[in-house]
Subunit: 328 residues, 2 copies
């Protein structure tokens, strides 16, 4: 395999732990350390051989890291860390605030060009693999419609919204794609569908002592933006059940391109994910793209990049000749 | 849109007709003509504005064509036409003899490098989109297994084999993926499965006058390599039924990567196609990749390429900034 690709992890939350595990599954990579804004002594890494450093120690590690995998949150952490670190390292991140991607891209691109680094932003599954399938779908079948369904999966934002309702002690929300809507898309009918028609929402809620279940349910299902426009169900469970049955972070979804070629021949392309753990899968995607970033950097392809710029072969540890002989 | 990408079609069979239709669905492309080894006057193109030229007329069209889409057969035509035309034009083809790809790649690569042209070989859906998903699946989930299922679809090779059986006047064969096998893969069990266990074969046969149905059935289901190892059914139909119900060339299939990340969390990636017309879909893929070839040629990326070398964004008529803002 030659010299391993030296990876640094910035931020040690769900994604950071996932990257730690994912690097260990890739024989051509070595984990150089985790860098955190918290006190390194207070972190307990999952693997015995993982070293934790302070964020500021990145300065001393400049020459011993090939790619930094940024695992901070998209809201507060990445807008600052992305441009700051792209000015010193090759980076990859999973920035997922769709509406702010152009401005984030511009900030990272400026820093990366100035420093001659390669900075791949917004990979993961959505944005990420789903985006690739949206682009390929409409490019391959220009006469058609694209549908993205999310779930079955735990939505962090909607779970947070439930927990802010008075009387709620805890809770989670699952986004469920409508089987009916998926079937009508698969049939080739190309129905017009709103996000609301494509999904339902399932809430599992732990009440505070003495809270009124009916009032809590009403407050949830009528909440504007989050639930009012959806078919929403609320189930009340105990704190034990919440811990036992709802600790995982499953997610997934489906991107379908339904189109036609000449003579109205129906053609359907479908890409689906069923993820036992959303952060662990996202971390695996980040790590494969770190390999591509390392190679693009070595080729002198500097600046900000997205998944749209990455040839699929660069994700694989195999050589181009091997890929052609064994997987084409 | 600026100047259109000028496309030439080489060979006018199923794929050639599909490319003619596909170019008309892409506003940034213009069809310069069809080039055939047969007498151009004897071809009837599907569109009134399509001009047919003799293959030898390609010489005069050197400066009016940006990319040639090669639509010849993989067995006899492409091994000769690919290297010959890559020495003069940017090309794209759907060469699908998997075992001979390395040698074909080398022949085309030599010609293309010498001539400073860009030559993308073996695109379509398999090889092509399925190959991309095989590579991405194992790169994203190194701990896992990849499964390719084909069908439900018409297999040309198996249909030809049926028609060679004594007593058969006509017939078609459909490859059917086993629901049971797909379900066991989707469940995350990662079962070991042979091609035979993954597929069954359905034959629709028209008998010659006076032929013995039982003898024909026995000859088909015991045919080595083609049917003997499969669960094969044979239905006898009339010539009218064959023409009426089996004239289309549907196909498709599914590539599934079933893997796990840390803590044994199951993760499944699935890519599926349901194609009303195999050649028309393959043609649509060729045309989108012709756009990428044109751009890679303009960037000076010469030599033979495969789908593994093409960034997804190059397939789209939209600009990189548009793609980031609208589809990421
Ligand atoms: N593109 C996609 O498909 C996709 C999918 C999933 C997630 N994402 C993105 O990934 C981002 C990160 O997700 P995540 O689940 O890893 O977030 P998280 O667990 O909240 O971690 C975010 C950061 O918070 C800090 N942190 C973690 N645990 C902490 C604790 N106990 N106390 C104080 N600080 C703590 C860590 O930085 P320090 O170690 O420096 O303190 C960490 O990097 C999300 O914001 C989302 O945008 C993208
Ligand atoms: N990668 C993939 O996923 C994929 C999928 C499907 C197919 N393919 C490939 O595509 C190749 C072409 O498929 P196809 O269905 O287009 O084959 P086809 O219809 O047999 O055409 C092949 C060539 O035969 C000649 N031809 C066509 N009709 C003819 C006729 N009536 N009489 C004499 N010659 C005729 C044409 O060349 P002239 O005009 O020069 O005579 C044409 O280019 C296949 O060999 C297969 O390898 C790949």
């Amino acid at each position: 395999m030659g010299t391993p690709i030296r990876i640094g992890i910035v931020g040690y939350g769900n994604l950071g732990r996932g990257v730690e595990a994912a690097v260990s599954h890739n024989a051509d990579m070595a984990l150089m350390g985790v860098f955190t804004r918290r006190n390194p002594a207070e972190l307990n890494p999952a693997r015995a051989d993982t070293t934790v450093f302070a964020y500021d120690a990145l300065t001393e590690h400049h020459d011993s890291i090939d790619v930094l995998v940024l695992c901070g949150g998209s809201k507060e952490d990445l807008p600052q860390q992305g441009p700051e670190l792209a000015a010193r390292f090759n980076i990859v991140d999973s920035f997922d605030t769709h509406a702010r991607i152009p401005e984030y891209f511009a900030a990272v691109d400026g820093a990366a060009h100035e420093a001659s680094t390669t900075a791949l932003i917004s990979t993961g599954w959505d944005p990420g693999l789903f985006s690739i399938n949206r682009v390929m779908g409409e490019s391959l079948l220009p006469e058609g419609d694209t549908y993205t369904f999310w779930g079955r999966g735990l939505s962090q934002g909607h779970s947070d919204a439930i927990r802010r309702v008075p009387g709620v002690a805890g809770g989670v929300q699952y986004t469920i794609p409508s089987d009916e809507a998926i079937d009508s898309v698969r049939s080739g009918l190309r129905p017009p569908l709103t996000t609301q028609q494509k999904h339902t929402r399932e809430c599992y809620v732990v009440l505070q002592d003495g809270a009124d279940a009916d009032a809590v349910r009403a407050a949830i299902v009528t909440m504007p933006h989050y639930f009012a426009d959806y078919n929403t169900t609320v189930s009340f469970i105990s704190d034990d059940e919440l811990r036992r049955d709802h600790a995982d972070m499953p997610h997934g979804g489906t991107v379908i391109r339904s189109g036609s070629t000449s003579h109205g021949k129906r053609q359907t392309i479908e890409f689906g994910l069923q993820l036992g753990s959303n952060p662990e899968f996202t971390a695996s995607v980040l790590v494969a793209y770190a390999r591509a970033v390392h190679r693009m950097g070595a080729q002198g392809q500097y600046g900000a990049k997205t998944v749209f710029d990455v040839p699929p072969g660069l994700l694989s540890p195999r050589s181009a000749a091997q890929l052609r002989a064994e997987l084409l």
